[in-house]
């Protein structure tokens, strides 16, 4: 099973839910794989003592101009959706940091004047987090898109395990890439107007892909009535409320798993998983 944890708004608790859910399910005897797909700013590893076994480079192919063959016709620049190629009568210039490695320019070139050269954009690290299979994706600074790294990292999901995907914030390409193969999406939100606004965007996104969803409200304080009425009106299951508790914040600030530090909170993640199972089946 693949469970994607996403949120829309950043900082609502995706990693908190991902890491604690992974820890508790592993402790209860399940076979768990935790995959950090937030390649722009991975941080799930901070909550474990990771023993890395392998680092794999992620390369994309970007165009290189053969000036002997190039006629400066401009077809490659017209094909590029990212303005990564500028063609004048004298030059054809490729901006490698704007290139999304789609290959459209190569298809457009009639003179075979473009070849592809590899460019490293990030890496994937495999390891073990105290017995939990762990995958970290990481993008190099300055790269335009994490999509290719996420696509590679997703290949490490294991059919025989519970795969927990710690997804990127937002609702654009990296998140779309992260959730497409999920059996279930957990949308983590916070009871603030910002949290609700971005939750609605995330709900719209998952509905466009026809995915099953449920909500976790983090830092729950019973104050934002609009949030719960929105969920009720739209028939969206509320799976878990994580209370607004200073002890949880303190544990998080030290890079600890609060379900481990505060035993009374362990069972809520078992219940979360059971509710997910119920909906998926």
């Amino acid at each position: 099973m693949i469970i994607a944890i996403l949120s829309g708004k950043g900082g609502t608790g995706k990693t908190t839910v991902s890491t604690n859910l992974a820890y508790v399910l592993d402790k209860k005897g399940h076979s768990v794989k935790l995959i950090d797909l937030d390649a722009e700013e991975p941080n799930a590893h901070l909550f474990f003592d990771i023993d890395y076994s392998e680092h794999i480079d992620v390369d994309v192919k970007i165009p290189k101009v053969d000036n002997a063959k190039c006629t400066h016709c401009g077809d490659c620049a017209k094909a590029c959706q990212f303005s990564a190629i500028v063609v004048s009568s004298k030059s054809t210039l490729v901006f490698a940091h704007l290139c999304h490695a789609c290959g459209a320019c190569l298809l457009a070139c009639k003179y075979n004047a473009l070849e592809e050269i590899p460019k490293n954009i990030g890496k994937i690290s495999l390891g073990s987090a105290n017995g939990i299979d762990f995958v970290k994706s990481q993008m190099n600074i300055g790269e335009p898109s994490a999509v290719r790294i996420i696509r590679q990292a997703k290949k490490y999901t294991n059919k025989n395990k519970i795969n927990i995907l710690d997804c990127p914030p937002g609702v654009s390409c990296p998140t779309v890439e992260s959730i497409q193969m999920a059996d279930f999406c957990v949308l983590v939100t916070e009871p603030t107007p910002f949290g609700l606004h971005d939750l609605k965007l995330a709900v719209d996104l998952t509905r466009q892909f026809g995915l099953k969803i449920g909500i976790v409200i983090n830092r729950y304080d019973n104050k934002l009535i609009e949030l719960e009425s929105y969920l009720e009106e739209n028939n969206i299951p509320l799976l878990l409320k994580i209370p607004y508790d200073i002890k949880i914040a303190q544990s998080y600030s030290k890079g600890k798993l609060f379900s481990k530090e505060i035993p009374q909170y362990e069972n809520m993640f078992v219940e979360l998983y059971n509710k997910i199972l119920e909906i998926v089946q």
Binding site: S83, A84, V87, S89, L93, L98
Partner: protein
């Protein structure tokens, strides 16, 4: 000679925009015929606005650009295309053209 002016408005009375690639309009002015073409600049690109703006200058046959200081990507493309670029923030397009003719604009 054709000149691309990165402006805030659609006429020669409009001011040169503070930004080159994300200017509201590009005016293509032909100083031989006095003909003026107005291009509505697509400002929705998250990346690549600089190279796109230079491609517009090239495609319209401009051999000079009058604008604010272009960004790094744009400058690189401007140099490769052998286009001259002049800074004229604070002036109207009309005034900037006059100053260009009398060699009073600073070439970047």
């Amino acid at each position: 000679m054709k000149i691309l002016l990165a402006t805030k408005g659609q006429t020669l009375d409009s001011a040169i925009d503070e930004r080159f690639a994300r200017a509201s309009y590009f005016l293509i002015y032909d100083d031989k015929t006095g003909q003026l073409e107005v291009i509505n600049n697509n400002q929705e690109l998250s990346h690549g606005a600089g190279p796109q703006a230079v491609q517009i200058a090239i495609d319209n046959g401009a051999s000079a650009i009058i604008s604010a200081m272009p960004g790094q990507n744009a400058l690189q493309a401007i140099r490769a295309a052998n286009i001259k670029v002049y800074e004229a923030v604070g002036l109207s397009a009309k005034h900037a053209i006059e100053k260009l003719k009398s060699n009073e604009l600073k070439e970047l």
